[in-house]
Amino acid sequence: MQLTASRFATIAGLWIGYFFLEGFDFGVGVLLPVLGRTESDRRVMINTIGPVWDGNEVWVLVAGGATFAAFPEWYATLFSGFYLALLVILVALIVRGVAFEYRGKVNSDRWRANWDRAIFWGSALPALLWGVAFANIVAGVPIDKHHEYTGSLLTLLNPYGLLGGLLTLGAFTLHGAYYLALKTDGSVRTAANALARRLAPVVVLVAATFLLWGQFRDGRPLSWALTLLAAGTLVGAVGASWKGREGWAFALTGTTLALTVASLFATLYPNVMPSSTDAAYSLTVDNASSTDYTLKVMTVVALAITPVVLGYQAWTYWVFRKRISNHHIPAAQSLVPAARSSAEPSGTTAS
């Protein structure tokens, strides 16, 4: 019993890490066409997440792998049931990852513009769909007695699910705006702060509607407490942003995302995927779980490795802690095939 509860909390922790970290780099991607008016601005934005986005994305891979190891039934039902939504997410993440790496590799406006579009859609769609997925998991979806999902993609696109999607899209974008305000200087920083002020009321409204809707339906003391804390930190973030405290604004939206995930998981427990067909068919931490032995093994491994991972990821953020502004952006290092001349000596490194 204790083991399954702690593994459930671990899964929640991995999603918290994912939403906190990839949340802002999704936000930066969504804001790319909005705040990035010039090529230099867009490069400033992309370079704030350049060294870290890949490490952020691993959190979702580990969340998936840990779910497979600790709750195979949950993994099987969720991934086969939400198939098409996950397909969209996968395509988005593939295109987005390639876009970051390839965008600067050819010196052509059209090439860059295409990858910019890929970054926007590759960030916006998962930002929306993760919220849709989580809202539906918490609210319950049709699951039969064999633990098979019996709905379709459209089943997931219900009002509560879509509101959940809007919340993650909006909150990630706001989180990303605060991140950009914290990590840049100059035109991007000004624009990010201005946009955050306009976006914040919308996010607060969506968050309040979504969270209260869920809590009045399925809430319990712990999830209510987490929800109220989430609301408090969100308001705190908005206030900090108004006062120009960019670091606080970013940390507080991150905390809001963490508390929101925690509140959703607290609402869920002891279910992991409630069935809207019949409560008896619900997947719970017990009937979806691995054996105690596997859970113990995974707990030991997680306890041993996670602190190291957190250590070197934190160190990465420390290494790249400086703000980036337009004058940090070097001339395009990509190839200009016509400019290549075989006579040019390549030994200029001596300078």
Binding site: R43, F71, S80, I329, G347
Partner: protein, 477 residues
Amino acid sequence: MSSLDLARWQFGIVTVYHFLFVPLTIGLAPIVAIMQTVWYRTGNPAWLRLTKFFGKLLLINFALGVVTGIVQEFQFGMNWSSYSRFVGDVFGAPLAMEGLAAFFLESTFLGLWVFGWDRLPRRVHLATIWLLALGVNLSAYFILAANSFMQHPVGVRFNPTTGRAELDSITTMLTNITALATFPHVVAGAWLVAGGFVLAVAAWHLARSRDDADTVATFRPAFRLALVAVLVSGAAVVGSGHWQGQIMVDQQPMKMAAAEALCHTEKGAGLSLFAVGSIDASCDEVKQVTIPGLLSFMSENNTGATVRGVNDVQAAMEKRYGAGDYIPSLPITYWSFRLMIGLGLVTILLALAGLWGTRRGRPVQRWFARAATLVVVAPFFANSFGWIFTEMGRQPWVVVPNPTGPDTVRMLTADGVSPSVGSATVWTSLITFTLLYAALAVIELRLMLRYVKAGPQPEPVTSTDDVEGAPPLAFAY
């Protein structure tokens, strides 16, 4: 097509595609790390140019390996939910460990290496590329341990109450002899890919600008390094492959028999070099050219040993597991086995020719550069055919019963597919992935060729009118 067939096609396509990029990463990451280490030790700018040049090619390749890997992590649940339910207690653990121990390591240190050139002390920066190389190799081990469980389940038991496989001992599972033999084979295969790649790139530049002292100073050492990499890894591929063959005979006699299209049990069986005519279990129309005794040697280190044939293993399986067709596709297993070995050998022969052709300081000849640019694809496809062989050869099983231990943990591929995912849905994803992957392959290939042809780029010269204390980033997207 049924959703089962579609799911199998999808798994095959996305996995073979993923594994075009992965071996180059596994091999090239340590090779670039070696280049940077030599530069760190000697201060020779040629090695810095090589590090940056091959590092850039590594990144172009790495990106596709990473993003296509996400699909791998998700598709067991998406398309193989019954399999996931059956084996999750066992199979999920190495996958989760891979994410925790390897994916975090490689992705984080990749970012540090790429963007850290001017931010980190040189020694620390050198450590980041080695940690990246360590990460990709750790990743290979965990995923091969997971795959080895499917080939030869150990450290597990069957729970008749739940009808599920359960983990009995994580150490037994992770030290599965199948994994221990497969890991060196796969890593050596990856070095063959990366070595062949560096060899071809270096040879192309050397043959093209033979009189350019700079090109020779830069690429000649890379060429020699690649020759060593190919020859050493080539020997390791052959040795580990031989070990695998001996294990396979005990663990999966059907796969070995199918690899040879050996219908009936033979004493002193010969190794089939190639066959004329169609290959099937009736054995009638196949005309094979064989080397006497070699198959027996490959199986048991003894040219006179008995090797079981397809029909005999089929009869034994029917007796044990009930009526059914337990024979994998013979043409696919037979030919993929030969293509794997043949393409691997071609790569090794190329390196031997390169060694001979450049002996005692002789320059790289044009014919060799041309041959190298043709052969560069061979080890990639050798890897693909190796996987096609090993995965198709275990059919119809997704988890092959263990003939040397308790065989209750087993599953047919047909029983592993997701029952709730219909064929229209799988068609959608199959077409989506195929088109997307094809488009990305074209983009990647063109980008790669462009950067290969351009050669090492001169370092951007830092101008003096930079804002005080804020020089441009050494690397930026």
